[in-house]
């Protein structure tokens, strides 16, 4: 026997379902922590010699950025201003982040907080922190 729903299907629910299916099929899998990631976006990576942090802070004066390392925690803070909107103008889309921001990254234990290099290029702040000598892999000669 065929089961028939007593109610017609809700078109909007169907569409929402379809949209979810599409997202699963085509988009990059979303993060388990959701999409609200805060500003600025950050990438973290490393090599046996260094830990590399990239903060995506476009159009900012690097002198106004505040970067600190304290007790194994890296903080990037600053303020972002956007151009003033002229009088009698209409804002159609307003998506870019504005205002003060602050993000914190816990660093691994083996970093050397005195060997830090920070560069700002193309709107990306790259912080490279060397790992301590002792922590770097060493080849042991067999006698």
């Amino acid at each position: 026997m065929m089961h028939r729903s007593p109610f017609p299907r809700d078109l909007y629910a169907e569409l929402a379902h379809l949209q979810r299916e599409m997202q699963q099929a085509f988009e990059v899998s979303p993060s388990i922590r959701g999409q609200a990631r805060g500003y600025p976006a950050m990438n973290v990576g490393g090599t046996p010699r260094s830990v590399d942090i990239y903060a995506f802070v476009p159009g900012i004066d690097p002198a106004t950025l505040d970067v600190q390392i304290e007790k194994g925690v890296l903080t990037v803070a600053g303020e972002r201003r956007v151009a003033d909107i002229p009088e009698k103008a209409t804002v159609h889309i307003d998506e870019r982040a504005v205002g003060s921001f602050r993000r914190v990254v816990t660093l691994p234990d083996d970093i050397d907080p005195n060997a830090v290099e920070a560069k700002y290029r193309d709107g990306v702040l790259h912080i490279g922190i060397a790992r301590k000598e002792a922590a770097q892999p060493r080849r042991i000669t067999i006698q």
């Binding site: 085509f26 990059v28 995506f56 560069k119």
Partner: protein, 127 residues
Amino acid sequence: MNNETADIANPADSARNEAALLPPVDVIEDANGITLYADLPGVPKDRLSLHVEDGKLSIEGELALDMPEGMEATHAEVSLPRYRRVFTLSKELDADKVSAEFDQGVLKLRIPKVAHLQPRKVEIRVA
């Protein structure tokens, strides 16, 4: 038939289908035109491409981060190597006169309105 195969093989088309990040934008319109700002951090000037075709404006940029050799990513929020966004322009905008500035990952585009559609002050003569 042959034309269709050529289109599929076109590298520009295949690039258009690759996954890309959507850059955030601000779009502001005043009496003389539209100003668009887009955030494309990590894109050097020579990897940014802007196209106006069939009344569509497309913004595309490829990321180039200086990564040390052998780096392994442990956490990535910017997880794709390119940005892409397409806008449909309206007829009153003059696509031939788009001007662009790109500095530290921020693109500023100015699209003026067609000259004869810009506001003009009409003088009223009193007889």
